[in-house]
């Protein structure tokens, strides 16, 4: 927490807007967080970020080019369930944003997955949810029909 206090004291820019470009290749978009400065701004921005989309992933790299095996596993699992419409944020772009993400969820590692503003867990949890069928159920609660469920129906 000390580093958060140092960051807040160091940065005198307040009210900095969050710059979030939209990628050309579709709905999945990443954030450029370099305009986030004060730690409090990061926490506030994160509060908005996780509420804004049903499925939010903080990861290393992008869904098109993950930079970490665990982040890639999250991307692949979502892809397997046909979840294309989610917001992803590349924590490698900004170290203050990265630290802010961990502080916000009180979770020490990346990737991190949120469903409807609620922290779900990291790669391990998502994988286990995928394996035990819970992920299909949780997606249903979000109004997302997993393509694995549809595939299963078709095979019957």
């Amino acid at each position: 927490m000390n580093s958060l206090i140092r960051n807040t004291a160091r940065c005198l820019r307040s009210g900095a807007a969050v710059y979030m470009p939209r990628q050309a290749d579709g709905r999945v978009w990443t954030s450029s967080a370099r305009f986030l400065c004060a730690a409090a701004d990061v926490q506030k921005a994160l509060g908005d970020i996780v509420q804004k989309d049903k499925v939010v992933v903080f990861m290393k790299g992008t869904p098109a080019q993950p930079m970490c095996g665990f982040s890639n596993a999250v991307v692949q699992i979502l892809r397997m369930h046909g979840v294309d419409d989610y917001a992803s944020y590349n924590v490698l772009e900004d170290s203050e944003f990265r630290e802010g993400v961990k502080a916000f969820s009180n979770w020490p590692t990346i990737p991190q997955v949120y469903f409807s503003g609620e922290f779900v867990g990291g790669c391990d949890i998502l994988l286990q949810m995928h394996q035990n069928g819970d992920l299909v159920e949780e997606l249903k609660k979000l109004g997302i029909s997993s393509s694995l469920l549809e595939a299963e129906k078709e095979s019957k």
Binding site: M67, C68, F70, L92, P108, T109, D124, I125
Partner: protein
């Protein structure tokens, strides 16, 4: 932008099969005195979670970090303290026990947290996905490696 993605070379001798049904018959792995982080992880998880079964695997060699690093770990904890708790709470308990390591030298921690019953019906260690080289050139990882060496 970060340098192009390189796949890590994983030595064949340390490849894990997807499930190891006889894992629970393995002799208890003695902590290596030359690996202080592994020892610390083992001690803290034992003290705080009183596991029936515990495995601590240093997977740093599978990632883009120098040989001998203690930065990437996989832990399997079987404890009755997890009874009735959702996965997220179980993982938070493990994170809490290891918060010092996670804030200093440990960069990645893969967790399996099972009750004794769950372990009995499926005694298998999960396998980590292949590294995509993200630790290379990541200054946060470099800082953690430095913290581990000091």
């Amino acid at each position: 932008m970060l340098p192009s993605v390189l796949r890590c070379v994983r030595p064949v001798s340390t490849s894990l099969s997807l499930s190891r049904p006889l894992a629970h018959f393995r002799p208890h792995m003695d902590p290596d005195p030359s690996r202080p982080v592994e020892r610390s992880i083992r001690t803290k998880l034992t003290d705080q979670l009183t596991p029936d079964h515990l495995e601590v695997h240093n997977e740093s060699h599978m990632h883009a970090v120098p040989p001998g690093s203690e930065s990437h770990f996989r832990v399997l904890v079987v404890s009755s303290q997890f009874e009735g708790l959702p996965l997220i709470k179980r993982h938070r308990m493990v994170n809490e026990a290891l918060k010092e390591e996670l804030s200093s030298c440990v960069h990645a921690l893969a967790i399996q947290a099972k009750t004794p019953e769950q372990w009995g019906s499926n005694p298998s260690l999960a396998k980590s996905p292949p590294c995509l080289g993200g630790s290379r050139g990541d200054h946060t990882v470099e800082e953690k490696l430095k913290a581990g060496r000091e």
